[in-house]
Symmetry: C2
């Protein structure tokens, strides 16, 4: 568990997109953020106060989160002085980069000398159990996509926010690097060893109060041949009561695979439901979350109406209009 | 790639079952075995000549394979003297035990001093790619089970033997420890990191001659919630042309999960086929391999007839009568 609040390190981000992890934390956990640290030349700004490390400490920040990714996912030498200073001043460091903090001998030495922790959220730091498929109390929702990167994380976070606003008990359960940095906890599922994937998801979403919902972050797609095994483990380890179909209507082929067309929403619905019912016979598909950000307002509306009419389930775009209709569907389960 | 031929190390195996890895190698690759090395008190015998290490060297053996598992999968201290001697005499060592050879500092030192290799087949030693689902030339067969441990490896090995006897081009592709030790090569799929599972299977079964069959060793079951993600990766990474359903008819619940009943063969057929066709639209389910060893001859025959009548596919027990009918079904694809 990464200690909040955070100060967000934007480094020398060449553009706003490079700081999307910091932006995600700012958007979804603003109460965890005391400010941003930017180096000379930084072209990103996530809309929180610029602070020095000393100011961040005064405001209570406990962890400096590297919220920037440069090409190659490496820890830039130009960041090092600030990272060492942060450790010396009492911050833990957290990163989702490929290049691990723990592999940087100089950072490890400084962290040890000052009794600080280095969190590499890209790799597991827990010995997960083997899954057992036993029913668990509490309710679970999982977004399953027609493809990777269609908005599953956003959907779950938007639903969590809406549910909390309604006074419902809801917890986003992160399964990817960005989600883990946003919430400070989770399972980097794509880095878990095969035999322990389902067990890691069970561990992530333990027994809970009967009316509590876990919103488990989806990954991959049953129809994406590179990552379908990860999706399968989420469906069986997560044993969802409710499935949300996630879709991006302008995608012409599976992400990274030009030779693979997208499945229909109907195919994703039927396949996911059949597999989900192996562990949870009561599983239902309750709604469709459509990421229409590539469409204009009129086209988006038409798209949602078409899907809703065809599939016979509420179709909504949480990016555009909030997650209200998705949560209505969940509340009806 | 582990160099053959082998000498099989049975250590102080307390019973025949403890030497089942050695027995598997003896049964399926007798041409790779020059003999067995047994320590005082060994209660197993895999039916090959007892040899000293020196005799094994004279017969050309290049690798000493630890073909015995004791409780806990550890490398016993009582084996150490013989293992050191083997390294000194020029053997590589290969093991599928949980306790890795590479984690035994004394063995590592001796191996380094004598330029020998230590193969721990339980952990990957290759950086597998991410799968891309691109069609590959050659044909592929995968056994998919109603459960784990129903005879999928045996089925694939028996089919390979029968196909080679018929002059067909066929290669067993190992995905588990025992299979890797039998063939000297393969992917320990349950130990591969999630994101690379499908890519590892693609790597294992590359492009080949149009009439060549890879017989990919199946793992887990789509209906076993602990390991279904591994099975999914095999179906999508393996992109089988032919699926064989594997079943053990006396099993009353999923292995290790008393609260999970077995799926029907029909459910495994339909679910596996729908998922296989995502990557290979021509995929077919061609036969049923039934492990009837818990039944008497009459009951076994009735069981096979019942399944064959119900499913409408050839049903055969390769343990009992050979893999001829399964290969007939494959040859008809």
């Amino acid at each position: 568990m990464i200690d909040a609040p955070y100060v967000l390190f934007l480094g020398d981000a060449p553009d706003q997109l490079a700081a999307k992890v910091a932006q995600g934390i700012r958007d979804w956990r603003p109460e965890s953020v005391v400010g941003q640290v930017r180096l000379p030349g930084c072209k990103a700004d996530v809309g929180v106060p610029d602070v020095t490390l000393a100011e961040a400490r005064e405001k209570g920040a406990k962890t400096l989160v590297i919220g920037v990714a440069n090409r190659g996912g490496v820890i830039s030498e130009s960041w090092k002085a600030e990272l060492h200073t942060a450790l010396e001043q009492g911050f833990d460091l957290a990163s989702g980069l490929h290049n691990l903090l723990r592999d940087e001998a100089d950072l490890v030495r400084t962290a040890e000398a000052h009794g600080r922790r280095l969190f590499d959220v890209r790799v597991p730091n827990v010995e997960y159990p083997i899954g057992n498929g036993a029913p668990r109390s509490g309710k679970r929702c999982l977004a399953v996509g027609t493809d990777c990167s269609v908005g599953k994380m956003y959907t779950a976070l938007a639903m969590e926010r809406e549910m909390r606003a309604r006074g419902m008990a809801a917890t986003f359960r992160a399964t990817g690097q960005t989600g883990i940095l946003i919430t400070g906890d989770g399972v980097p599922l794509d880095a878990v060893v095969a035999d322990f994937m389902a067990g890691a998801v069970e561990w992530l979403s333990p027994e809970n109060e009967p009316d509590h919902w876990d919103l488990i972050e989806g990954q991959g797609s049953l129809f994406h041949p590179s990552f379908s095994g990860v999706t399968m483990a989420l469906i069986h380890g997560g044993q969802p009561d409710a499935l949300i179909l996630s879709h991006e209507p302008t995608r012409t082929h599976m992400r990274g695979l030009p030779h693979f067309g997208l499945p229909t929403l109907e195919a994703v619905r039927d396949q996911s439901l059949a597999l989900a019912r192996i562990v949870n016979p009561a599983a239902q598909v309750v709604a469709v979350s459509v990421n229409t950000k590539a469409l204009g307002e009129d086209d988006a509306l038409r798209c949602l109406e078409e899907i809703e009419g065809r599939i016979g389930l509420p179709a909504a775009d949480p990016f555009r209009r909030g997650a209200g209709r998705l949560v209505d569907a969940l509340a009806a389960v």
